[in-house]
Each structure stands twice: as C-alpha cells, then as structure tokens.
C-alpha cells in the first residue's frame, strides 16, 4: 500500500468515526437553540440504531431502515416533548430517563438480531467528481448519510442565522416570555425543534448499525450521544464549530489508535483520553470570547415555559 492510499484509508475512517457525532450534535444544537435541553440523545440514537437495523433486515432496504430510524428517533423525542413541554417535567431528569429507556428498549428489541449479518449501505459515487485522485473517493464517494451530515450543517446554519424560522427559534430560546407575548407559540416551536433533534439522533443511530458496523450490538452507541451533547456546549451552539469539534474528536480518536499500533511509548489510557482533551481544548480556544459566548448561549436553556395565566 502506498503512503497516499494509507493516508486516504485513515481519512476515510476518520469520516466514518465523525459522522454519527456530527449528525446527533447538529440536531441537538437546534433543540438547545430553542431553549430545550434534551439529554436523551444517547437513548434516541440507540433506538434509531436498532429500529434502522430491524427495518433493514425486514425489508432488505437500508434506505427504509434509515427512514425507520428517523421515525423512531422522532417518536422518542415526542415522548420527551410531551413530558417536558406539556407536563412541565424537569428536562434534565426526563432526558436521563429517556436515555435509560432507550438503552433498555433497544436491548429488548435487538435481542433477536444479535449476531445477524447486516446489510450495509453502499456509497454513492458522484459522477466525474468521485474520480478525482485522492479527494474524489474521500469526499465524493460516500454514503448518503455523510452527504446528509454536510448538508445538515449548511442547512442548519442558514436556517438558524439567515431565515425568519431560525430567528424565531433563537428568539424562543433567548426569551420565551417575550416570544410568547409577541404571539409566537413557544411550545409549538420547541416541539418542532425537539422532533428535528430526534430525527437527527435517529439518523446517527442508523449510521452506526448500517454503516459503521453493519450489525446490531447491544449498547453500540457507546456514549457517542453524550459526546455529541458535550460538543454542542463546547461549540457554543455554532454549527460550524460543531462540525470542527466532531471531526476533531473523530480524527484524534482514530489517530491515537494508529499511534498505539505503531508503538508510541505513551500509556494507552492517556492515548484514549486524547480525543476528549484535544476537542475540549480546541473548542474552548475557539469560544474564548466571553461576550460572544454569552450571546450564543440560549438564555432559556432548560427552563420550562409556563405561559401567563
């Protein structure tokens, strides 16, 4: 194997490692921008993973699996939305419960699928562009979910910061009382945001069980939902920084494997901690401007909205 193709292989695995984080984080970013803290990302993700796998096995089509994963993620998020937005339950506690529920539920549903070989989603080569040496296979011969993740980052950026819809979402997250008195339906906006987050988490789960390792393994999300949550905060709720953070985390976690394999004399524990350290440090440096950080943080994050009497 030539050096170049070696590098290419490493970069491909980095994309694979980063995509699920990016998908889940970009969804949660929108949720939190609307003022809702949904800690159930991990739970929604794993339910998406098992349902995506199950639907793919049943129909033979990974695309139907993807749709099923999104629907199940949305279903989980609706449960969260009903509890926190209608019944005003505590968002932190409810989010934790959603994660525990998702882990348990996926274990139960997935028991029948353990050990079954899955059907992998094939990459889609974009004509002409995909034959460009080196960057062609990297950027233009990917599966639909990788393309979707890039599309989502761009779309979320434009919607949040350039469109009226995004202005309303940010307004609801910044001051729900004022948004209400201006006549916006805080609950409705938050429901839609929470559902978007659920769909993205479902996608992230599908990526794991259909592409990353095309099979069902219990607990296969392995804490990625939590990392996605942390990325959103450290990225100070900015889409581009979420992209940087997700890829940085993915890159360092892959590179440290290679470093370990090549026999660098550092303790493996330290190496395994590297992705976390590197990501936190870089994102803190990016978001060090205190006034901007304050402006980016949704002021109503996690606060239940109780309309005026």
């Amino acid at each position: 194997m030539s050096d170049l193709s070696m590098i290419e292989a490493v970069l491909l695995t980095i994309i694979t490692a980063s995509t699920p984080l990016l998908l889940a984080a970009i969804g949660e970013l929108v949720v939190e921008r609307s003022g809702v803290l949904n800690l159930g990302v991990e739970g929604m993700m794993i339910v998406g993973a098992v349902m995506g796998f199950a639907a793919t096995q049943a129909t033979g089509s990974p695309y139907i699996g993807i749709v099923a994963a999104m629907i199940s993620g949305v279903a989980m998020s609706l449960l969260f939305g009903f509890l926190t937005l209608n019944l005003m339950s505590n968002q932190v506690a409810t989010g934790l419960a959603l994660t525990i529920l998702g882990l348990g539920l996926s274990g139960m549903v997935g028991e029948a699928f353990i050990g079954q070989p899955g059907i992998s989603l094939k990459p889609i080569a974009i004509p002409v562009l995909s034959v460009i040496p080196f960057i062609g296979p990297l950027l233009f011969n990917q599966d639909v979910l990788v393309y979707a993740s890039y599309g989502l980052v761009i779309a979320v950026y434009f919607v949040l910061f350039k469109s009226r819809t995004g202005l309303i979402i940010r307004a609801v997250g910044d001051n729900h009382g004022s948004a209400h008195s201006l006549g916006y339906s805080v609950i409705q906006v938050r429901y839609l945001a929470v559902m978007f987050g659920g769909a993205c988490s479902g996608l992230a789960g599908a990526y794991l069980s259909l592409i990353y390792t095309p099979q069902w393994v219990e607990g296969m999300t392995a804490g990625r939902g939590w990392i996605a949550l942390a990325l959103v905060v450290f990225a100070s709720w900015r889409p581009a920084r979420v992209l940087i953070g997700a890829y940085l985390f993915g890159a360092v976690s892959i590179l440290q494997f290679h470093a370990q394999a090549s026999g660098i004399g550092l303790p493996t524990q330290l190496m395994s901690a590297l992705p976390y350290l590197a990501t936190i440090i870089v994102l803190i440096i990016i978001s060090r401007n205190k006034t901007l950080a304050k402006v980016n943080t949704p002021a109503c994050l996690g606060k239940p909205f109780v309309p005026d009497r």
Partner: protein
C-alpha cells in the same frame, strides 16, 4: 415642554377603542371588575392607579396577552375579540412594556423583525428602522446587539418597533421609569407628535406630574374598578393621588426644621475605584461626611456611578485604602458587608428582587440572610431559629403594611411596592445607625412611597445618619437635608437642600460642575461655610 402645547381634553376625536364591562378573575382576586374604558383618536389617555389596581391586567387584555372573563371590546365601533397579540397588532394596537420584551442575544433589527407581520428582508427593514427612528428623534443602530445597549435605548427599540406597524393606539406601561429627565422630555415630544398625527396613546404612569403635563384625559382605577375619569390639566398631583389611593396621601412631616447635627457616622475620604469593564463607571476622589440625624441625598442620572458608590459603602466592593470608608469612626474599606452591618450600618440596594431579596425564598428566610450576623439569637447552635425569624417577619409586615396573599410568602410573589416596603422595613426594623438606601421608591405607588419616605425621615430624626441615592428629584427635595450630585463618578459637595436650586442640581447632573469655571459661576452670589 411648554404647557401651552397641551390642548386640553380631546373631544372631537372618534372613539377608537371602547372596552365595556371587562372582568378578569385570578383565583380569588378580581383583577378587573366591570371595567369601562374609552380612548379617542389622537388623545394621550392616562391610566392611573396604585400597584395592583388592575391597570396591567386591563392593558394585557387590550393587547391580547390575557383573555377577559367577561365584557366586550369595540374597535372603531365594531365588536372585536383579541385572542392574541398578533391580532391586536393587526388591528393597530402596539405596546411598549414596562419590563422590556426584548431578546438580548439578538440585534436591534432582528428584535424588530420578530414583531413584524410578515417576512421583510433584514436590509430593507434596517433602512426603515433608520428612517422612522430619525423621523421621530429616536436614533437607533439596527445592527447593534441589544445586550450591549443601555435601558434608554432599549426602550427606543420597543417604541420604534411599535411605530413601524403604523399603530392607531400605543399602550405604554410606565415608559419614563427608566429614563433620565432629558430622555423623558424627548419622549414627550415624540408622544405629542404622534398624538398630533392622530395616534392614540394609553399612558400608564405613577408620575403624576408628567401625566398632568402631557395627558389629555385620565381614567383612574382602584382595586380592579374604574373610579372615574378626569382632565389631568385641571387637577393637581395631590388630587390625582387622592383619587388613586381613595384617601389623602399622608403629607410627609419632616419633623424639626432645625436638624440637630450629630457625630459623623459615615465618612468617605478620597474614595476612588477604577471602573470594571466597558460599562462600569470610575469613582473619582469621592468625599462625604454624613452626620447622625441628617439625610443626605445623592442625585444623579442613572448609571453615573450610583451603584459603584453604593457597593463601595456597603462592602460589596472593597477598596485598597481602608480609611476611604469609615463607619462610626472605624475604617472599613477592606471589610465585608456583615462586618459593616455589625458596626450598625444597614443597606438597601436598588434592585429589590434578586439583589435585595432572593425571589424563591420566603420572607422570613430573606430576613435571616441580612440579619443572622447582627442578631446572634437568629442562629442557635448552628441551626436557624425559624421561629424568631417568622416573628420578625410578622412585625415588619404589620408595621410597614406589606400586603400579601398569605403568611410568609415567597419574595417573588409580592408586588413591587410591597416587596420594597418589606426590604426597607427589614433594615429599618434594626434601627441602624447608618442607613444607605439606593432608589428607595423606584416603581412604587404613591401610598407606599409616602410610607417609606416617612420611615426614613423618622429614622434620621431618631439620630441615625441616612444616605439616600435617588434619581427622583421630587423625592430628594421632599426628604433630604443636604444634596450632593453624582455625575460620571464625581460626587459634588453636599450642600443644604435649601441652597440647591433645581437648576443647579440639573447642571451638576449634566456634569457641568466638573470644570472650575462652571462651579464658580454656580457658586457666585452664594456663600458657603467651608
């Protein structure tokens, strides 16, 4: 503002909005009881009443934030229902809230875009904002972030936001409570211009002087009912207050005219504090001697160093030079708040909810917070003496007439005026030797304000030293023996109230006292005992 500009009651205008028999109940409280209100086109209509009289409920119903339990609203003669603010805006009703409904993390233009009926390109909207704000003398930078703007400018955003919707009726809830006298005058010009263009204004205010000055008509509410209407021009502030309160507001008696000068209880010596951050004010060489038995008032426009001065005296900010602040002869510059309280000082900050009291704590717990050090019996073997705290709470709420829905409620459940009476009462109950109080009656109705001012005077006449920081000149002249003016962190010399004309105070407030020549010009013809 010339009084001649006021054109008396507007009778020729058509009825714009007519509310009939509006009733709204919250639990056991009838917030609005069969309320009638008529506003004509082009009039500035005052809505008067004490805190809790039902004014806010009524305007929220007119703006569609609340739905009335009974009654009907006629808009230009047609019966309408206003289920939400969007409907109100469509009809042509705009509102400027007392507590701003702005989004701090968004820019001016984004804030305004949110209130516009349909999508308009941000660029085009920015242009319109600039035009309208110039036209009405309310300059605004559309791209500025609200978080960076002072309150006066924030109010402008709300007003411009209203104006862009071409409203026929603008509701303003205590608009001048956050403005300097100059800003308020500027606002009155804008309001009069709007009224002359046919726009009606419903004006809620506690400041009876300004109601007299600009309003054509007034409706007075008490305990959820309309007590009647009047033409403010022919009334006096006292008669207006009487209608609001239902009885005469007690005239404040200042006690002995000859103030017996006691010892110096609070001494500031060359107190200087560098500013913190871009919006802070630097205190420069502040000097003051405050004697027992006297009330010294610090006048000044908002954000000229008042909070910095208060923090330095109370001990929230400590200074390098211990001798810069002396309480009862003890240098305390480096000591903390409780040490200063132990010397007999008491402090009432400006912001009653959040600073003066913890919103989610009941009143007795809020008493514990400022008094556990000065009253050792409040802590027994490391445990809170809740019983004693509750007794003190009862004593304070009775003697300061704090009205509450049940015994020992959470601080946040009290109305502004009642909470202020509690916060002031909590400190006065200790009979402190030195009292420092920032904005004692901000946003408080006439009855409560009179009670608080009388209590402050009584304390001073009992021999304590009182420093009142206030932006309300009427209040200052009513209660103080000497007046100092703070401008950009500079404190003028405290001089007898009788020697300080309003013109002089005004010039000092504007910072004209800084240059030697100005102060010499001011002092010309006056003699001082230095």
């Amino acid at each position: 503002m010339e009084n001649e500009q006021r054109s008396g009651p507007v009778t020729e205008g058509e009825d714009l909005i007519k509310a009939k028999g509006i009733t709204k109940r919250f639990g056991d409280i009838l917030a609005n009881n069969n309320v009638d209100l008529v506003i004509r086109q082009g009039e500035i209509h005052a809505l008067l009443g004490e805190n809790g009289a039902g004014k806010s409920t009524l305007v929220k119903i007119l703006y569609g934030v609340l739905e009335p339990g009974a009654g009907e609203i006629l808009w230009k003669g047609k019966r309408v229902s206003i289920p939400n603010p969007a409907t109100a805006r469509k009809l042509g009703v705009g509102m400027v809230f007392q507590h701003f409904s702005l989004f701090e993390a968004l820019s001016v233009v984004e804030n305004i875009a949110l209130a516009m009926p349909k999508s308009e390109k941000i660029k085009a909207l920015s242009k319109r904002i600039t035009e309208v704000s110039q036209k009405y003398g309310l300059p605004l930078d559309p791209a500025a972030l609200v978080a960076d703007l002072p309150v006066g400018i924030r109010q402008r955003i709300e007003i411009v936001r209203c104006l862009l919707q071409n409203p026929s009726l603008i509701i303003m809830d205590e608009p001048t409570s956050v403005l300097t006298p100059q800003e308020a005058d500027q606002l009155f010009v804008t309001l009069q211009r709007l009224a002359s263009e046919g726009c009606a204004i419903l004006y809620i205010s506690h400041r009876l002087e300004e109601v007299k000055k600009i309003c054509h008509n007034a409706t007075i509410m008490r305990h959820g009912r309309v007590m009647g209407g009047c033409d403010p021009a022919v009334e006096t502030p006292a008669s207006l207050a009487r209608m609001m309160v239902g009885s005469d507001v007690h005239d404040i008696s200042t006690g002995a005219t000859e103030v017996r000068q006691g010892d110096v209880m609070l001494r500031l010596r060359n107190l200087s504090i560098p500013s913190d951050g871009a919006f802070g004010i630097e205190l420069k060489d502040v000097n003051l001697d405050l004697r027992g038995g006297e009330i010294v008032a610090v006048a000044g426009i908002a954000a000229n160093g008042q909070s910095e001065l208060f923090d330095a005296i109370s001990g929230e900010t400590q200074v390098r030079d211990a001798y810069a602040v002396e309480i009862c002869g003890v240098p305390v510059g480096k000591r903390k708040v409780n040490d200063r309280r132990l010397l007999g000082a008491a402090f009432v900050p400006e912001e009653r909810l959040g600073h003066g009291a913890v919103p989610g704590f009941v009143l007795s717990e809020n008493i514990l917070l400022t008094r556990y050090k000065t009253e050792p019996s409040l802590i027994r073997h490391g445990m809170l003496n809740q019983k004693l705290a509750t007794e003190i709470e009862k004593r304070i709420t009775v003697s300061y007439d704090v009205r509450m829905s049940h015994e020992n409620p959470e601080a946040r459940s009290l109305s502004g005026g009642n909470l202020q009476k509690f916060v002031v009462g909590r400190e006065l109950d200790r009979v402190p030797k030195v009292l420092v109080i920032n904005q004692p009656t901000w946003g408080v109705d006439a009855g409560a304000a009179a009670l608080i001012r009388q209590a402050i005077i009584d304390l001073a006449r009992g021999g304590s030293a009182v420093l009142v920081i206030s932006q309300d000149l009427d209040e200052i002249y009513e209660i103080s023996d000497r007046i100092a003016v703070i401008a950009r962190g500079d404190l003028s010399m405290a001089e007898p109230a009788s020697a300080m004309t309003r013109e002089k105070v005004g010039l000092l407030m504007a910072g004209m006292g800084e240059s030697k020549s100005a102060s010499m010009a001011l002092n010309a013809g006056e003699t001082h005992a230095h």
